[in-house]
């Protein structure tokens, strides 16, 4: 009975009169193991249909919106501006005038320091001279002390002379 039904369906199938349900029935029959030998050649046909049905498209499609690409350009522009903001002062920042001014300032500083050094050298010399002055005053003091002793001596001699 089943076979008879299948054969009828196959005739309808070839005349393109089967419905989708009937075609599904045929597919199910030929997917099973008990296919009648004289219908064997249909098997590969329905198997093929069933197999290809599972084939799928796996590649990615690069979907891009115009808007989105515009946003991307905006972000690129923002990054560029940021980079330029960092780079420009570094590359072009100190102008030649600035460099000259800096050099001049350094030279002035050096000269001033030199002058100060000279002054301080003189000061040190003066300090040394002051030391000798102190020595002199010390010896004068000594002299005065010995002079006072001389006075004592004179007094003593005068007493002797009186006596």
């Amino acid at each position: 009975m089943v076979l008879n039904n299948i054969e009828n369906l196959l005739v309808k199938y070839e005349n393109a009169e089967t419905t989708l349900q009937e075609e599904a029935q045929l597919k199910a029959y030929f997917a099973s193991d008990n296919v009648a030998p004289h219908l064997e050649h249909y098997r590969s046909l329905f198997q093929y249909f069933a197999n290809t049905q599972n084939e799928s498209y796996t590649k990615d499609v690069p979907l891009k919106t115009n808007r989105r690409s515009m946003y991307q350009w905006i972000s690129v522009a923002a990054v560029t501006i940021l980079m330029l903001g960092i780079m420009i002062p570094k590359v072009f920042g100190p102008t030649e005038q600035d460099i000259k001014d800096q050099e001049l300032a350094l030279a002035t500083y050096n000269k001033t320091m030199e002058a100060f050094n000279l002054v301080s050298l003189g000061m040190n010399k003066g300090k040394d001279q002051l030391k000798t002055l102190a020595l002199v005053s010390e010896s004068i003091e000594d002299g005065r002390a010995s002079a006072s002793r001389l006075n004592e001596f004179n007094k003593a001699t005068n007493k002797i002379f009186k006596n």
Binding site: L20, S44, F49, Y57, K59, P62
Partner: protein, 185 residues
């Protein structure tokens, strides 16, 4: 960079299709597009290229998509036209040096060589069908569309479709019967 999501969100409010919307719209039938393209263009790479092209075309026309009643049927029609155009320009490029009689001999040689792999053989028989029959076999027997849908996709009346389908199925059965009996010999 962090501005992007905000701006895109803003645009969805204005009823513009986002990538996710598009993918979920296209998902159910992208494989069908691919399989139809492969049926017509045969090579997998070419079919992939064609599918990509068609999806991109849909994406670029996404504002109009919502106006179509049936995006799937529209896409299948587009695929059919696109692939037929491709085939035409290919035929124009490759001048046929080989005589057609010679080609037939070649295919009967193939018959004997590849009769064993009968499932693979089916795809070769379908390849030999006229393009319109190929398309109809693909849409009906593989993708299981109703005749009404196919008639919309191909802009043909249902009777013409049934006639073409019947012819294609008979040709397939005849060739398969031949192959099968060769196989037994």
């Amino acid at each position: 960079m962090f501005l992007i999501p905000e701006l895109v969100e803003g645009s969805t409010n204005q009823k513009v299709m986002t990538q996710a919307d598009f993918v979920s719209l296209v998902m159910p039938f992208k494989d069908k597009v691919f399989r139809l393209a492969k049926r017509l263009l045969v090579s997998r790479e070419e079919a992939e290229d064609a599918t990509q092209e068609i999806l991109l075309k849909l994406w670029n026309n996404k504002q109009k998509i919502s106006d179509y009643k049936n995006v799937e049927a529209f896409s299948m029609t587009m695929t059919k036209n696109f692939c037929l155009d491709r085939l035409k320009s290919k035929q124009a490029q490759n001048l046929k040096i080989v005589h057609s009689n010679y080609q037939e001999k070649g295919s009967s040689l193939q018959t004997q060589l590849e009769a064993r792999d009968s499932v693979d053989w089916v795809s070769r028989i379908i390849e030999d069908l006229p393009e319109q029959q190929k398309i109809i076999i693909q849409l009906r027997d593989v993708e299981q569309y109703e005749f009404a849908e196919i008639s919309k996709m191909l802009d043909m009346n249902e009777t013409a479709i049934r006639v073409a389908l019947s012819r294609a199925r008979k040709t397939l059965r005849e060739k398969l019967t031949n192959t099968h009996s060769y196989g037994i010999k």
